[in-house]
Symmetry: C2
Subunit: 489 residues, 2 copies
C-alpha cells in the first residue's frame, strides 16, 4: 500500500509521510476522557479529530486497531504536581454514590453523545481501573531498570536517572532546568528527590476509596501510567500513532514517553498528533475553568450562551471547519454558518439524485475530487477538503439548471466520491427526514376541508375520490355530527 | 419504608417478603452476558426480567445499586467441567482480532440492543478482566482458609473441605453424591482431588492469550470467581438480591456461593432470583445450540423463522406477557398478539387525553389499580399486572363513547398511575410517531391532484386556497410544464 498521507508529528515538528511499522496495519492510541462530569463541547475536538483520522485510515484500506482509554482512577486535581483529590472520588462524594457508579454514569453519557455525533466507537476502550496489574508490572520493570524509587509506600519516576540517557521534555520541547525553576515553589513534594519526579504508585490515605494491594502499599497508580501500560498491552511496545489534546502534551504525554522508554527500552510512539482546543471568549473550554457548554445543552439550546439548539450534524460540521491543529472559537454565528453550509451541501447531494446524464461532461470532475483528497492527505486538512467540495456545488447547481452537463460515468464517479467523502470520511449523517406529525395533520386538515367544500358543492365524485385515495394510504375518514375526523388504520 | 413486595427466593423455594438489609437501600447483582457473540432473543429474558425488578424497586423509593457484570475472560466451552477453550479467545481467533476487540465489539452490540429495548443501564457494569486483582485477593483468602489447593500452577476449590462445614448444592438442591455419579466419566480433571472441584485460577497454556501474572502461574481466573469478587467489591460480603438465568443456577451460582462463603465466612446473598428461558420449538434458545434469532434479526425481520420485523416495544411486551419464572416460547403468533395488545393499550391511553371529566365516576378506578400493584408485589407477576390493566380498557372505551363517566380526580389518578405502570415500571416506550415521509408524499400528491382538478374546472379560488394553505405549513408548489412539484421551504 502506498499512500500520500502526511501527518504533522509533534515529536519532530514536521509533516511526515505516514508509513506504518507493519504493512497495512495501524496501531492508534488516543487519550480519552476522564469520566467525572458531563461531556461538553470541549471534549469533542479530540473525539472528532481522531475519528476523522480513524475513518480516513480505514478508507485507505488499513486494518486499524484504535484504542481510546477511559480514565477512571488516579487523575488528581492538580495535573502538574500530581497532587490533590482524585477527580472521580471527589465527584462520588458530591453525588453520594460509589466511585464506579460515577464512572458508569458519565461513561454512558459520553458514549451516548459521541454516538449522536456519529463518532465511531474505538476498537478497544480500556479503563484504567481495569488494568491495575498491567500498571503494577510496568512499575516493577521501571524499578528494576533503576528509573524509579520507592518512598513510604509510593513509587516515583526518577527524572534525573532517566535524563542521564534519555531526554525528558523532548515532546513538549521543554528543558528540565527551566521546568525546575517553574515548579520549585510547589508544596507537598517532600517525598520526591526532584520536584519534577512524578508518581507511578501512590500510597492511599485511609479515607481514599479507590485502592488496590501491592508490594509497596495499598494504593493506586499515577495518572500517566495507564496510557503506557494499556498502549503497550494492546498495541505493543512501539506503536504507530498516539493522539490527544494539546493540553496533554505536558506533563501527561511527556511522562508517558519516559515511562514506556524506561520500561521497554524502545521508542514508544512513532507519530504523535495533538489536536488544538475549543475556545470560548478566547479561553480554552474546560470543566476546571467552568466555562463549558455541555453537549446536552448544545443539542437542546438550553444555555445562556446559545441562541438556539444545534443538531449533532451541525456541531460536527462546525468542528470540521477548522483544522484540528488550529483553535476553534465557539460562536453562534459560526454554528449557524455551519448549519447553512450543511443545507447547501445536502441540497446539492439531493439534486445529484435527479440528474439525467449527458453525452459529455462540460467540466473536469476529477480535478476537483483530487483536490479534496490532497487536502485530506495534507495532515487531514478538513477545512480545505470541505472548501474543495463546495467548489463543486455551483457546477452541480448549473447542471440542475441545464447550463452545464455531466456524463454518465462522471455522474457515478461524483456520486460515489461525494458519498465517501461526506459520509464515510467526514462522518456526517444523512439529513434526517424533516417529516413531522404536525405537517401530516395540517395536510389532512386541508384535504378534509377540500372534501367538505366539494360536498357543499354537491361534487360527490371528488368527495368519494378523496375518501378512497386516503383509504389507499391507510387513513380512514369518519363523518360525525361534529365534523370529520381521521384515523390511521 | 414498608412495602408488600414478595419475591420467590430460589434458596428457600418460597415467596418471601422482601426486606433489604439496610433500610431504603438495595444491593442487586445480576449475571450479565459473555460478550463473544451477537445478542439474541434468549439474552433479553434476563435483561428485561431484572430491568422490571430494578424499575419497580426504584419506583418503590429504594436507592438501588444495580451491578450487572460483563464476562470477558475465563468462560470456557464446557461450563460443567470448566474445560475447553476460552469463548472470547476462540471468537478472536475466528475473527482474526484481539480478544479485547471481540469484547468491545459485542459489548457495544449488547448495549445498543438493550438501549433499544429500553432496558435501563445498571449502576455499575464491571468486566471480569478488569478485576483480576480482586479475584486474586479472593483466591488468597480461600487458600488461607483451607478451602482450596494449588496443583501445577492452578488453584482449585476443594469441595470436600467446604462440605465438611457447608452445603455445596444448596441452591440447586443437588447432592454431592449424585453429582459425583454424573461427572465421574468426564476427562481432563486429573489435577483435581474431587471431580466436582472447580478452578479458581488456571495456569495458561503457552498459546493462551488472556493471561496475568500471579504467585501460582501466569494464568487466568476461573469463570465463577468474577461474580464472587465483583459482588463483594461493589455490594459487600452479604448483599440483598442476586439474579440470573436459571441455566446459571448450577454450577455457576452454586460455585459462587461456595467461593464467597469460603472467603468471607458469611452468607453471600439473601434473595436468589432466577429467570426462566426463552424456548424455540420447545428447546432453550442458546448460542451453543445454534437455534437463536439475533435481536438485529428480530428488529429487521430478516430470519427464516420470522414472518415480519418486530419493534423493540412489541418484543418487550411479548416478554412481559409471561411471568419471569415460566418458560416463554417464541412464536410469530405470540409476537403479533403482543403487537395488537400494545396497539389497544396505546389507543386507550390516547383516548384518555381527550376525556372531559364528569361530576362522578361510574366505576371504581382504584380497585383496578390496586390489583395491578398486587400482581407486581406478587413476585413481579407482569402477565397478571398487564391483564389487570387491560381490564380497565373497556371502561376507558365506554367513557369515550359516553356510556361510563369519570370524575376529574379519578381521571388524574388513572392517567398518572397508568403512566407509571406502563412507562416507568413495565418500561414500554411511548409509541413512535407513525408519520413517515411516504404518507406525507401521498397526501401531497392527492392535494396536488385536487388542485389540478380545480384548475381544470376553472375553480381558481380553490386552487389558490390550496397554494396558500400549503405555503402556511411550509410547502411551496412549483408549476412547470412537466406538472406541479413541491418543495419544503
Amino acid at each position: 500500500m502506498d499512500h500520500k498521507l502526511f501527518i504533522y508529528n509533534t515529536l519532530t515538528r514536521k509533516k511526515e509521510k505516514f508509513i506504518p511499522a507493519t504493512e497495512n496495519k495501524v496501531g492508534l492510541y488516543v487519550c480519552g476522557p476522564t469520566v467525572y462530569g458531563e461531556p461538553h463541547l470541549g471534549h469533542i475536538r479530540m473525539a472528532i479529530s481522531f475519528d476523522i483520522l480513524f475513518r480516513y485510515l480505514l478508507n485507505l484500506g488499513y486494518a486499524v486497531r484504535y484504542v481510546r482509554n477511559i480514565t477512571d482512577v488516579g487523575h488528581l486535581e492538580d495535573e502538574v504536581s500530581g497532587e490533590g483529590a482524585d477527580r472521580i472520588q471527589k465527584r462520588a462524594r458530591l453525588e453520594e454514590i460509589e466511585p464506579m457508579e460515577v464512572v458508569q454514569k458519565y461513561k454512558n453519557l459520553f458514549n451516548e453523545s459521541f454516538q449522536k455525533l456519529n463518532i465511531l466507537p474505538p476498537s478497544i476502550e480500556p479503563q484504567a481501573s481495569g488494568h491495575i496489574i498491567e500498571q503494577q508490572q510496568m512499575i516493577r520493570k521501571i524499578l528494576e531498570k533503576g528509573y524509579a524509587y520507592e518512598v513510604e509506600g509510593s513509587v516515583y519516576f526518577d527524572i534525573d536517572a532517566y535524563n542521564k540517557e534519555h531526554n525528558y521534555g523532548k515532546l513538549s520541547g521543554r528543558k528540565v532546568e527551566d521546568m525546575l525553576t517553574n515548579t520549585r515553589t510547589l508544596d507537598g513534594q517532600s517525598e520526591k528527590r526532584n520536584p519534577l519526579d512524578f508518581a507511578l504508585w501512590k500510597k492511599a490515605s485511609p479515607e481514599h476509596l479507590m485502592r488496590w494491594p501491592s508490594e509497596w502499599s495499598d494504593g493506586f497508580p499515577g495518572w500517566h501510567l495507564e496510557c503506557s501500560a494499556m498502549g503497550t498491552k494492546y498495541l505493543g511496545e512501539t506503536f504507530d500513532i498516539h493522539g490527544g489534546g494539546m493540553d496533554l502534551m505536558f506533563p501527561h504525554h511527556e511522562c508517558e514517553i519516559a515511562q514506556s522508554v524506561a520500561a521497554n527500552g524502545k521508542e514508544h510512539v512513532r507519530y504523535w498528533m495533538h489536536n488544538n482546543m475549543i475556545t470560548i471568549d478566547g479561553q480554552k473550554m474546560a470543566k476546571s475553568l467552568n466555562n463549558f457548554i455541555t453537549l446536552r445543552e448544545m443539542f437542546s439550546g438550553n444555555h445562556p450562551k446559545l441562541e438556539k439548539a444545534y443538531s449533532p450534524n451541525a456541531i460536527r460540521f462546525f468542528v470540521l471547519q477548522a483544522h484540528y491543529r488550529s483553535t476553534l472559537d465557539f460562536s453562534n454565528e459560526a454554528l449557524q454558518a455551519a448549519e447553512k453550509g450543511l443545507k447547501r451541501l445536502f441540497s446539492a447531494l439531493e439534486a445529484l439524485k435527479t440528474f439525467k446524464p449527458s453525452e459529455k461532461s462540460s467540466f473536469d470532475i476529477e480535478s476537483y475530487l483530487v483536490k479534496v483528497f490532497e487536502a485530506l492527505n495534507d495532515d487531514l486538512n478538513t477545512p480545505i477538503a470541505i472548501a474543495q467540495v463546495f467548489n463543486l456545488v455551483p457546477y452541480i447547481n448549473k447542471v440542475k439548471e441545464g447550463s452545464e452537463s455531466i456524463s454518465r460515468d462522471d455522474l457515478e464517479i461524483l456520486k460515489s466520491n461525494l458519498n465517501t467523502i461526506i459520509f464515510d470520511i467526514l462522518g456526517l449523517l444523512p439529513e434526517e427526514d424533516n417529516t413531522n406529525a404536525e405537517l401530516e395533520k395540517d395536510l389532512l386538515e386541508l384535504i378534509i376541508d377540500l372534501r367538505l367544500k366539494a360536498r357543499a358543492n354537491k361534487d360527490y365524485a371528488t368527495s368519494d375520490i378523496i375518501r378512497d385515495k386516503l383509504k389507499e394510504v391507510g387513513i380512514a375518514l369518519k363523518d360525525t355530527k361534529d365534523g370529520t375526523s381521521w384515523e390511521k388504520e
